[in-house]
Structure formats: structure tokens, C-alpha cells
Amino acid sequence: MTLPGTRIRATLMVLALAAALSAQDADMAERLFRSGERAYAAHAYPEALETWNQLVQQAPASPFAARALLALARHQLEVERKPEAAVPLLEKLRTDHLKTPQAGTALLLMGNLKAERARTPAALKEALADYNRAVDLFPDQPLVQEARLRMGLAQKRMGEWGRALVALTEAMRLDPASPFARQAQLQAAEILDIQGDLTGCLRMLQDLRNRHAGTPEAEDALWRIQTRVRLRLQKPALKSEGIWPPGRQKWLKTPTLLAVGPEGDLYIYNNDEDRAYRFTNGALAPAGAPAKAGRALLVPASGTAWIVSGKTGLVKDDGAPGVPPVPSPSGGMLDAWGNAWICDPGSPSIAVTGGDAGRALPVAGVSLLAALPGGGAVAASDSLRTLRWLDAEGQVKATLPYGKDLPAGFKTVVALASDPIGHVAAIVDGDFEGVVVWGPDGAVLRSATFKGLGIAGKFRALALDRTGAVILADRSNDLLVRLP
């Protein structure tokens, strides 16, 4: 009779001991985590990382292990800038601690990493899957709003305008005061314009200004509104305000390429120096690496300058010469994925470089390219005497014969430029020798001959600034002229 009782007592003692030990483990895990936090706050990173790693090893099932894994991953992402080192930590967090709130953040960060690396729609779908999982598994967490925004951005890059609009609208609905809602609203407005709803786009941009005055997004919305209204509704005639900046002559050295960067700054390629500059606060600052025979000036999101060289192909920051993907590059642009499109009028296709492998878009005879906000490009082809609006896959969406809706035709497009909201501008030569600005739908918005503008020079490059003005580069006089 006593035996079972003894067994029960022994079992209870073991359970009690296990519970006590478990409580001790939990206590130890928390202390380790706090210790790591203290060290990290003191910027003693090695000590902090070691402490958290110890915690993950010794108490892998503890909720503090999940927090430690997330802290380790964030460190790799934000301090070390080593996303590849963060991935296994985030994967472990996602698989071993799925029930913790940190797993939601891990999914979001994984999605962001994948989206950042994605160069193709297929790659972006993996990021979308992570965002969807974050939303489905952690619906009560604030991260849902960011996940919705990221989903919308990904779908926008993929050209899925309708789905992107839905996701961005969801992000706007959740917490209007959050920066994610403002970014979503800005992007949703841009999608409306891509879809052809200019009024809807303007309403949404102004609504952003009304509700979130003083925010960076509200300031961003202002130029987007004003440029659209000016170019597409008011359509003032082009006129020259002369040398720009006023009084600055002979300050450049054969400017042959112009571009506007993501911050709105002007980039200038001086052919005599074989290098690009960023023009900011009235001064020129070298940007990117030197490259000879520049044919296109590309400005990636990082704000540096890449050059498409007629001799060495795409020259990035490191200045390493490459092999031209086309025999004789004449132009190029960066698409929404960060891929460079490089054209050659003698080539049967446009070369797309970036990602794991290059590819060719079967669009022949393209001499110049300019990026479109939807992910595609405008391609000028002197041999076909057409401008073609291409989507992200190189499919021709619209074709515009040279000279259409102009008083006279032209034979060549000397320079081609676009702005982030879909306007395209060109210096053209032929019977009509001057400047033309088209809308996203190919309609002529503004045009003027150099003679009509009262300017003379060897204009070989142009850019559209954030006020909708055209900036021309005169290579023979080493100056710029602005057409507001």
C-alpha cells in the first residue's frame, strides 16, 4: 500500500524540482537578455551579441530567446549592414518561435530583405508571401500596417495596379496618423495617375496635404501636384528664362548628359572630364566613378551616379569597366527593380542587366531610353521614327510617330528624359528643331523650337526638374538653360 504512495510522492518531488529549475531557467534567460540590452545600449556590441547568443544556446525555448534572435538580426541589418547574416537568425526565429510576437517582425523583415533583393516579379512573390503570412498570423500587431504598405509597393513594382491600390488603401485605413499610411497614400495616388485617373491622383495627393500638413510626404505631394497641374492642366507655353543658374557661364566642361536624382538634385556629366557631378546647393560635387564616352547618366536610389559608356558598358560606383551588353551603347535607364536597360540602335533588343542574369527585351532599333514610373520605359527609335511606351516586360503599350501633333516633323531624338511622374521630354532635330514635352499618355503637352525660344547653342542633353521645367545642356557654351 505504501509503494504507490511513495511513487506519487517521488513523482511530485521530481515535478516540483523540474518546475523550480524551469523557473530558474526563465529567470536566467531574462537576466541574460537584460544584460545584453544593457551592453548594447552602451554600444558594447561584441559583449551584447555574445550574451544574446549564449541566451539562444542555453534557453532556446524561452520567449527571451525570440527577443534575443530579433535583436541579433536587427544588429546585422542595421549596424553591420549584412543582410545575409540576418537571414538565418530571422529564419530560426520564424520556425522556432512562431507563436511569439517577434516572429511577426521576423516575417516582415524577411519580406523586406527579399523585396530589396528582388529583380524579378517571381522573386518579389516570395516577399509577398512573407507579408501575407505576417498579416494573417499577427493581425493584431501594429506591423500589419507596414506589411500592407510593403505589399502594395511590391504589387506596384509588379505592375499589379489594382491589387496594389487595395493593399495601399488597407494601409491607409488602419492608422491614418502613421508614416506608413502617408507613404501608402502617396503611392496610391501615383497608381491612380498610372491608371489614367489624374483627378483621383490629385485629390489623393491634396488630401495627404490636408490631413498631414508639415510631414515629408505632404511636402513631396506638393511638387507632384503642382507639376501635374502645370504640365497637364495649365500647359503654359515653353519659354526660356535664359542661362541657369543666372549668370553662370562656362562653368561646365562639355556637358553632354543630364539627369535628376531621387532627391530632385540635378546630375551633370562633363564629357571633357569623363565624369558626373551632383549639382547641389549651387556647387558641383563629384558623383560616381569616371567613365569615358558617356551615353547615359543613371542615378540609383543611393544617390550616386552610374554611367552607360559607349565603350565599356555600365560603369557603377566602383568604376570597374565591364563588357557592353550591346555592341554600341547609345542610351540607358534604371527601371523600378534597379535593373539597367541599355540600348543600341543597331541591336535587335534592349539589354537588361542586374539580378542573377541579364536578359534581352526584343525591342529593336532603340537609340535612347527614359524610365517610366510604372516600371517600363519610353524608347526613341530614329530608324523607325517612333517613340514607343514599353511596359516592364518590354511590351509596347503605345507608339507615337515622330512629329505627331507638332507643327512639323523631326528626324532624330537628340536627348530623352523623363520625370518620376511619367512626363517625357526630348530635344529633337529635323524640321522641328527644339524641345517637346509629352504626357504619360503620349499627348504633346508643351513644345517649342529653339528659334521660337530665342536660344542658340549645341543642346545635347536635357532633364525635367520637379517644377516641370526643362533644363537644357549646351555642350558648346558649357552652360545650362532653363525653360520653366
Binding site: V166, D175, V229
Partner: protein, 678 residues
């Protein structure tokens, strides 16, 4: 204990004396008439006996008037007994009883025969002594052995023995006289008081006015002006019964004094007493003081039914009330509804109309704190929670009953439904406890959990701010969409009404109601300030008058600065009194609040009841779109119904999300339909 019981018993004994039945006086008159008029001596004697039986037990506590009445009854009984054979001895006892009651009582010598008169006089001379009073001034108050006696100057009979007489009069130094009086003795007692201050007598109409001298209360006027002074009532233009008896203000030091007369619902009057009234010391009478009524009107509107109005606790009947006459003063206004209540501190100004738009506000019951764990800051957080009501204006704050446990309070509140919101707190386990979880819940179970630290500077600050955040559910709208351009708000869209009024699309608005405009923000401010439901705008040609209406704005689904359980409770109460489109809009907001809690089935239930006539902006299309969204979120069971809802939404091409300038929902509904296709 014994002493207290004795005092209580004494008080109980005294009580009936103070409340003698006035009908007894009629009976005295009736008894006198029975004998004097009808000659029915026996019936009269019997009636007097009954009166004596009623009065004698409390003879020692009767006031002066009833004492006189009793003396009279003894006198009449003595006369009646004297005439009844065999009762003459009884007559003498009656006279003796009369003198025992008050030796100063005088018999009616017209009805009393000479023999009885002589017996009375002899008995009084033998048993009592006399004092000869001299009173200067004559109109003071005399107290004999602690009891006020109405005595004038002259001779008065008193029982033999030691006595104390005190003579007082306002404005004079009181004076005492102590003496030992022997039977048959006559003793002169002279009072000549010294003047110490002026006395001002005031009469007020109405009666009951509180009199303040130099800011200090001196008492309240009462009584009725004596007949002899009724001319004062004429002077005040009122009836004598509306003017108080004289209220004497004494102890007025030399110099000026400010006298204030205050009475609720009346204008306060201030009068100055001149220095000549206080030097030299003298008596003065003020002209009667008449206080004019001070009233205002109160109107309480309420769309919600069943509200009961209370003003500072007084039940004023059902709302709505229109132009209710009330005293001009501050009130705590309460409208109690079957669910929810409305409170507001108001001040009614004299002659002014005050209007209140009441609506039921949610009641929040703080049920208590879970557990008895000790931790630093416990008392602090408990005190803050108990005092939370003082920080919340938009909810009525209730607490658990005294001694009621958290569990019992929650159970009671849920069963009685006498609250809309429940709040309780519990410590988050830790060593030591550093965090507290606050749980705020509706009766429907939609709850929010907030973690606070008991020692942070204001643990409840965020909760209070979110609960008190005003809802912006509407915005002014003139049918015009404008964007910021350097030349001013540039019109990019105008609805049919605005275009018909003369608005030109593609031009800036230069002025609104005469004020120049530079930005859309200024245009929106002009709309918000527009009076009379219209705004006059100038686009460089003839001014255009535009109607300004309120357009709906959506409730955000997950805003960090909103408290959704409180919102949900509030919206349910707002819906109770709303009709038409407004009611429908509250349903939409309720649905959005329920979507916050991901209770899509309940949101759908709410949306199913809502219909609006609005077809532009946040309108019927919006309702249909969200119906579709809820159906989609409920899984694959309702896909067909979701399709129907999105198709329905597409019938309203001008319907938007979020607000009048929000995105059109048509592209979103189309995308949803596209995604629903197999």
C-alpha cells in the same frame, strides 16, 4: 448613555406641547358660548373639562399664548364650579391652579363674582411676592430664571424664593438682577441698560433673505411685518404677508457698512449704511428691501429618447424641455437615459436663454484591482484609477460598491447592464511587479489591454487622452476639390451644384467670404468658418455663392490615438437618438469599430441595417463596399454574397472611402470582383 436617553425622553415629552391643536381654541370659544349664549352650564363645564384634560398634562411647557388660554379656562371653570351646588370648594382649587400656572395671570373680573375675586386676590397676596419693574429702554427682552417672560414695566407677581432676571436689548449691554423674594413682599427691580452700538432694522420682501454685513452672514429674515407697520408693505408695493418682520442688525461699529441681501433666484442687493447711522449710537429703520427675481431659461434638446432631466439633483421631468424658467445660477445638469447619461456643469445667466444638446454618454465602471500583491506604486496607481472620473468628461464614471469584490462588481455590472464600459486592473507577474495591465471592455466583450508602469509619470495619461479625443466624423464641403498651386487653391473638380452656381474648374479661388486665399488649408478654414451654410467665393469674376454641407468621414480602423471600446460604446449611444442618414452613418462607424476587433460578422450585422440616401463621398456605395469586405473576411462561405456587395457598390461611381476627397471605391471594388473570379 443614560444621560443621552434622558435627553431623548425629555425631548419626546416636550414635543406635544409645541404642537397644541389649534382646534382647542375653537373649543374654548364654543364652550364659552354654550354658557354665555345658550345658558347650558353643564354642557359648557363638560366641554371645559375636556379642554383641561388636553392642556393640563403639558401645562409647564406651554408657551405664553397657550398659558393665557389655560388661565382663561381655569377662570371659567372656577366661575362654573362656583355656581354648581356642592362644587364651590372645587372653584377655589381652580383659582389656585391658575395662580400656580402663572401668578401674573389676571382673571376676567366681568364674569367673576366679587366673592371669587376677593378669594383670588387674597390667595395671590398670600402666596406670592411682587416686583416693581422699571425698564429702560422699554422694548427689551426679559428673562426670568432662564425663561423669556413678556413683562412690561410695573408690578408683577412672582413665587417666593431666589430669582434671576436678565434684561437684554440689541445695541445695549445686558443687565442681570438677582434677588430673594419673600411672600407678600414687594421689591423694586430697575433695569437701565447702557447703549453699546447702533441697531438697524430691515424688512425684506420676499421673506427668507440672508443678510450679510461686511461679508458676514447675520441671519435670515422671517415672519411677517406686524399690522402696525403694514404701511411699510405699502411702501414696498407688496402685501403685508409678503414683507418680513423686522430683522435687527446690531453690533454695528462706528463707520460705514455694506449690507448685502441674498436669496436664491433673486438679484442680490447691496446697500451701504452711512456713518451717520452708527455715530452716535441709535436705532434706525431701513426702507423695506425688495429683491427682484433673477431667472433665465433652459432648453435641453435630445434626439435620444427616454431622458430624465435633473438640475443639481432635482428632477425636472422628461427631455426635451423648451424655455424652462429656472433660477439664474450654476447647476449640475444631468440627463439620465435608459442607457447612458449626460452631465454638464452649466450656469444660467439672468434673463438669458441657455441651450444644451444632450446625448447619452457611456458609463464606465471601474470594477477594481485584481489581487493583493504588494508592489511599489500600488497605492499611487490605485488612487489614480479611483480618481479617473475627474479626468474623463465624455464618460460617466462609476465605481464598485463599497466592499464589493472585483469579481462581484463585474458580474453585477454585466447582469444589470447599468454600464457600457468596464475597467479593471491587474499586476503583470514579475519580481518585483513593474507593470500593470488595464483592461477596458464593452459589455459585448470588445476589450483593449493597456500595459502601464505604476511609477511612470502619468500611467493613465494615454488612456485618458485616447478616451477624450474628439471624433471628427464630418467635414465641411462645398462640392469643390482644389489643390495647392502658387496662385492659390486651384479648382480641379466641382460637382454639378457647384458648377451650376458658377464655379469654374481650372481656375484658382482667390477669395472666400471676402478674405484672400493662398492655400487649400485656408480654403478649408474658410469652409469651417462659413456661416449660414454658405460661402461666397471669388474666382476673378462675379462672386459665386456655394452651399456648405457636412460630408461624412470614416472612422479609422486601427488608429493609435483612439480607444475603440469607448468609441464603440459611444457610437451605440449616439445611434439611439439619430435618424436617417445620420443614423446610418453611426452604423457604418460602429461596423468600422467592430472591424478593429476583427469581428466581421458583427460588423456585417450592423451594416445590414444601415441605408443612406447619400451617393457621393462616404455614402451608400461605401456601405456596400465594406459589406463586401466583411463578407470576404468571413471566409469562403459568403463569396457569392461578397460579389453581390461589390457589384452593388459599383452602382455608386462617386462613392469614396475615408472622406469626400478620399479615393473612389470603384477601382477597389472592381479589383475585389476580379480577385473573386475563379
Amino acid at each position: 448613555m443614560m444621560r443621552r436617553a434622558l435627553l431623548l425622553a425629555t425631548a419626546l415629552l416636550v414635543l406635544p406641547a409645541a404642537g397644541q391643536d389649534p382646534a382647542l381654541r375653537d373649543q374654548i370659544q364654543a364652550a364659552k358660548a354654550m354658557w354665555a349664549v345658550q345658558g347650558d352650564r353643564e354642557a359648557a363645564a363638560s366641554r371645559f373639562e375636556a379642554i383641561l384634560a388636553a392642556l393640563e398634562p403639558s401645562a409647564r411647557t406651554l408657551d405664553a399664548a397657550w398659558t393665557r388660554d389655560l388661565c382663561e379656562v381655569y377662570n371659567w371653570m372656577a366661575v362654573l364650579d362656583d355656581r354648581a351646588p356642592g362644587k364651590q370648594a372645587q372653584a377655589a382649587k381652580r383659582l389656585e391652579a391658575l395662580l400656580d400656572l402663572d401668578p401674573d395671570c389676571e382673571i376676567d373680573r366681568t364674569i367673576t363674582n366679587r366673592r371669587l375675586q376677593n378669594a383670588f386676590d387674597a390667595l395671590r397676596a398670600q402666596k406670592f411676592g411682587r416686583i416693581k419693574l422699571v425698564l429702560d429702554p422699554p422694548d427689551g427682552v426679559l428673562t426670568l430664571d432662564g425663561k423669556i417672560r413678556r413683562m412690561e414695566a410695573g408690578l408683577h407677581h412672582l413665587a417666593p424664593g431666589p430669582h434671576t432676571l436678565t434684561y437684554t436689548r440689541m445695541g445695549y449691554q445686558p443687565q442681570d438682577a438677582r434677588f430673594d423674594l419673600a411672600a407678600k413682599d414687594t421689591r423694586p427691580v430697575e433695569f437701565k441698560l447702557n447703549r453699546t452700538s447702533s441697531v438697524v432694522t430691515v424688512y425684506t420682501t420676499p421673506v427668507g433673505v440672508e443678510v450679510f454685513v461686511d461679508g458676514k452672514s447675520r441671519g435670515v429674515t422671517r415672519g411677517q411685518v406686524p399690522v402696525a407697520l403694514s404701511y411699510l408693505a405699502d411702501r414696498a408695493g407688496v402685501k403685508p404677508d409678503q414683507l418680513s418682520e423686522g430683522f435687527r442688525i446690531a453690533e454695528l461699529a462706528p463707520g460705514k457698512h455694506l449690507v448685502e441681501f441674498r436669496l436664491a433666484c433673486h438679484k442680490t442687493r447691496r446697500l451701504e449704511i452711512d456713518g451717520t447711522w452708527t455715530t452716535p449710537f441709535a436705532d434706525h429703520d431701513m426702507d423695506p428691501v425688495k429683491l427682484a427675481p433673477s431667472m433665465g431659461t433652459l432648453t435641453v434638446q435630445s434626439q435620444a429618447p427616454g431622458g430624465q432631466l435633473f438640475l443639481s439633483g432635482m428632477d425636472m421631468g422628461r427631455v426635451p424641455v423648451q424655455d424652462l424658467q429656472v433660477c439664474a445660477q450654476p447647476y449640475d445638469l444631468l440627463v439620465r437615459y435608459p442607457t447612458g447619461s449626460f452631465t454638464q456643469r452649466i450656469e444660467i445667466a439672468e434673463g438669458k436663454a441657455f441651450s444644451v444638446q444632450a446625448r447619452p454618454k457611456a458609463r464606465l465602471t471601474y470594477a477594481g484591482f485584481e489581487g493583493n500583491d504588494e508592489f511599489a506604486g500600488r497605492d499611487r496607481i490605485l488612487g489614480m484609477l479611483a480618481g479617473l472620473g475627474s479626468r474623463l468628461k465624455d464618460v460617466a464614471f462609476l465605481t464598485a460598491a463599497k466592499g464589493e469584490s472585483l469579481k462581484d462588481c463585474l458580474a453585477r455590472a454585466r447582469a444589470s447592464k447599468e454600464t457600457e464600459l468596464l475597467l479593471w486592473a491587474r499586476p503583470i507577474p514579475g519580481k518585483p511587479v513593474h507593470q500593470i495591465e488595464l483592461v477596458l471592455s464593452t459589455l459585448g466583450g470588445q476589450e483593449e489591454r493597456i500595459v502601464v508602469k505604476p511609477l511612470e509619470s502619468d500611467p493613465l495619461g494615454s488612456l485618458v487622452a485616447r478616451m477624450e479625443k474628439p471624433l471628427a466624423l464630418w467635414e465641411p464641403w462645398a462640392g469643390v476639390t482644389a489643390v495647392d498651386m502658387p496662385e492659390g487653391p486651384f479648382v480641379i473638380q466641382a460637382d454639378a451644384a457647384a458648377q451650376k452656381a458658377g464655379i469654374k474648374v481650372g481656375r484658382p479661388i482667390l477669395e472666400a467670404d471676402g478674405k484672400p486665399l493662398a492655400t487649400v488649408a485656408e480654403w478649408r478654414a474658410a469652409l469651417a468658418a462659413a456661416k449660414g451654410g454658405a460661402v461666397t467665393v471669388n474666382q476673378g469674376e462675379a462672386p459665386v455663392k456655394l452651399a456648405v454641407v457636412s460630408m461624412a468621414r470614416e472612422l479609422p480602423v486601427n488608429a493609435q490615438d483612439l480607444c475603440y471600446p469607448a468609441l464603440l460604446a459611444d457610437l451605440k449611444l449616439r445611434y439611439l437618438g439619430a435618424v436617417g442618414d445620420e443614423a446610418a452613418l453611426y452604423r457604418l462607424h460602429q461596423a468600422l469599430a467592430l472591424m478593429h476587433f476583427r469581428e466581421y460578422d458583427k460588423a456585417l450585422e450592423v451594416l445590414r441595417d444601415a441605408r443612406t440616401t447619400a451617393i457621393q463621398g462616404v455614402s451608400q456605395g461605401t456601405f456596400d463596399y465594406y459589406t463586401g469586405v466583411c463578407l470576404l473576411r468571413m471566409g469562403n462561405v459568403y463569396l457569392t454574397e461578397a460579389q453581390q456587395s461589390f457589384n452593388q457598390a459599383l452602382k455608386y461611381p462617386q462613392a469614396t472611402l475615408f472622406g469626400p476627397d478620399g479615393p473612389l471605391l470603384a477601382p477597389l471594388a472592381r479589383q475585389a470582383l476580379h480577385d473573386l473570379q475563379p
